[in-house]
């Protein structure tokens, strides 16, 4: 039986997670740390909270298990699982964005692709309807400053003109 080493990951809030090496090396960052022999004790991940790390580990475990099985149908099942995994987070956008940052920091390409695509779809569907509000708001501030400056200039020039 192949030895599957256990790696300990420590989140930013001090919680430790023990995972198999195969799951941990889904993250290129952790993989390089292991290769560079920095993984004797727990690997600290100061940028990832325990809540997010738990989700990331859940994702990696599922993908490692899926790649072990040789059934082709798993591709579609995996996609459906990914969609369900990310759908839960659409409700909680903060978690989604934290997942993106974690996937970027840990360098997990498939998770980064999945989360970025989800946010891209939200931008596509204009689920951040900030277009007009932001533009009008910022524009009117510039407008007011411009008008006040013009008024000052006009008053100053008018005095010059009169004298």
């Amino acid at each position: 039986m192949a030895s599957s080493r256990k790696i300990t990951l420590r989140s930013s809030d001090g919680e430790s997670f023990e995972v198999e090496e195969a799951v941990a090396v889904e993250s290129q960052t952790i993989k390089h740390m292991i290769e560079d022999d920095c993984a004797d004790n727990a690997i600290p991940l100061p940028n990832v909270t325990s809540k997010i790390l738990a989700k990331v580990i859940e994702y990696c475990k599922k993908h490692v298990d899926a790649s072990k099985a040789e059934d082709r149908v798993n591709d579609e099942d995996l996609k459906a699982w990914d969609a369900a995994f990310i759908k839960v987070d659409q409700v909680d956008q903060a978690t989604l964005f934290d997942l993106i940052l974690a996937a970027n920091y840990l360098n997990i390409k498939s998770l980064l692709d999945l989360t970025c695509q989800t946010v891209a779809d939200m931008i596509k569907g204009n689920l951040f309807p900030v277009r007009n509000e932001w533009l009008n708001f910022t524009f009117s501030i510039a407008n007011r400053e411009l008008v006040l400056v013009c008024l000052t200039e006009w008053v100053a020039h008018r005095r010059l003109f009169c004298s």
């Binding site: 204009n126 509000e133 932001w134 009117s140 008008v147 013009c150 006009w154 020039h157």
Partner: protein, 405 residues
């Protein structure tokens, strides 16, 4: 920065009043609740996410805030650049001969329905010239043409002096060249005319078209393309090519460009500043392969730069690829290979690096991808950018002007 701006000549107090009105409406809007903040994405992660957003949606994304605008332009420049669109224009053959347009954006692999302003009342056939993204309608009373990327503006000119049916038309620099398609009994069938866009007038040219091109109807049997200086006309079946220089008013050729005997159909287009010839090998019912050659314009030799992958060629099995229905249109680094009877599929050859090429194929998801029986289809391709999209979206309700299919 503000001190350099000129003072408003109107009464500044009036401006303040306008501003006061604006805050009132803003206050009213804010009573419904503050607008949601943009997503907390910054820097390279924002740019990475924006690579997956189609160009159409990047227009509104770039208006979210200054940092998003910077992220959009950086993402477009470095990560996922703009690639030329394929525009498929279908014209109904019954009144009012309405034209509907679908577009394919290879950057995000999306198909879009675009509502474009119709050229003024016309009953004649819409045609395209693969050179410079030109769409034109030739009728006895006028010539209407449009060469901007999304065909938002149409120009109207007097018709050419010689009445023509299905002539060779190309936009070469600032001149529109019209040749051939004239009838024997009335006018000189070899007459060539050019319309100078700057002067807005027709000029008859001294040179005459080569007799070889006389009896060909351009849209069916000739492949036409042009760069800034010259127009190139290739006979699709034989590969015999002529070039015309409107500045010098001179025809050159014929050059035999057909690379070898197996090629039964040649179409030409410009990509990456190179003259590319795409040839179909085999026969109409059974296409064995598709290859691309770069033609060196000095020596007129064709150098093979790529071949369509066998997987893509297999998808062409069982369909007829008649030379008369094939055409090519080029923009940027792309040459799109089009077939009139299948407007729902985009096939392209992208010229990369020092003369290599990548092939791609995308099928439209909608059921209406096929051509209706009462429709004529023409193709153009162009570099559609953010400014063109902004202009198009401003022509009407943004949600209806451009819709994903």
């Amino acid at each position: 920065m503000y001190m350099n701006e000129p003072c408003s000549t109107t009464n500044p107090i009036k401006n303040l009043h306008k501003f006061a009105m604006k805050t009132d409406t803003e206050r009213a809007a804010q009573d419904e609740g503050p607008p949601p903040p943009p997503p907390p994405l910054f820097g390279d992660i924002l740019e990475l996410t924006l690579t997956r957003v189609p160009l159409v949606d990047l227009v509104s994304a770039s208006q979210v805030s200054r940092s998003w605008k910077r992220a959009v332009s950086s993402s477009l420049r470095h990560l996922n650049p703009i690639r030329p669109w394929l525009l498929v224009h279908s014209q109904s053959t019954r009144t009012p001969y309405a034209i509907s347009t679908r577009a394919f954006d290879p950057r995000s692999s999306v198909w879009l329905d675009i509502s474009l302003p119709q050229p003024a009342k016309h009953a004649s056939t819409l045609r395209s010239s693969s050179s410079s993204n030109l769409l034109f309608i030739l009728s006895p009373s006028k010539l209407s043409f449009s060469s901007d990327p999304l065909h938002l503006t149409w120009r109207h000119a007097a018709p050419p002096l010689v009445w023509r049916a299905d002539p060779i038309v190309a936009l070469v620099g600032h001149r529109l060249v019209v040749a051939g398609g004239a009838f024997d009994f009335d006018d000189d069938p070899l007459a060539v005319e050019t319309y100078d866009l700057r002067a807005g007038a027709w000029e008859a040219c001294g040179s005459t078209m080569p007799a070889l091109l006389k009896d060909s109807s351009a849209s069916a049997w000739l492949s036409v393309t042009a760069d800034e200086d010259k127009m190139y006309v290739t006979d699709k079946l034989s590969g015999v090519t002529h070039s015309y220089d409107p500045e010098a008013d001179a025809w050159h050729g014929p050059y035999d460009l057909r690379p070898h005997r197996d090629v039964y159909c040649c179409v030409i287009g410009f990509a990456s500043g190179r003259l590319i010839l795409v040839g179909l090998l085999g026969c109409e019912e059974n296409v064995k392969g598709v290859k691309a050659w770069e033609v060196e314009r000095g020596t007129w030799r064709a150098r093979e730069i790529g071949e369509m992958p066998p997987g893509m060629v297999r998808k062409m099995k069982g369909e007829r690829f008649c030379a008369s229905s094939m055409s090519a249109c080029g923009a940027g680094d792309f040459v799109y290979l089009n077939r009139d009877s299948d407007p729902g599929t985009a096939v392209w050859c992208e010229v990369v690096g020092g003369g290599d090429c990548r092939w791609g194929r995308a099928e439209s998801p909608a059921a209406s991808g096929g051509r209706g029986p009462a429709e004529r289809v023409v193709f153009t391709s162009s570099n559609v950018g953010m400014s063109e999209l902004k202009q198009a979206l401003a022509t009407g309700d943004p949600r209806n002007v451009i819709r994903s299919t």
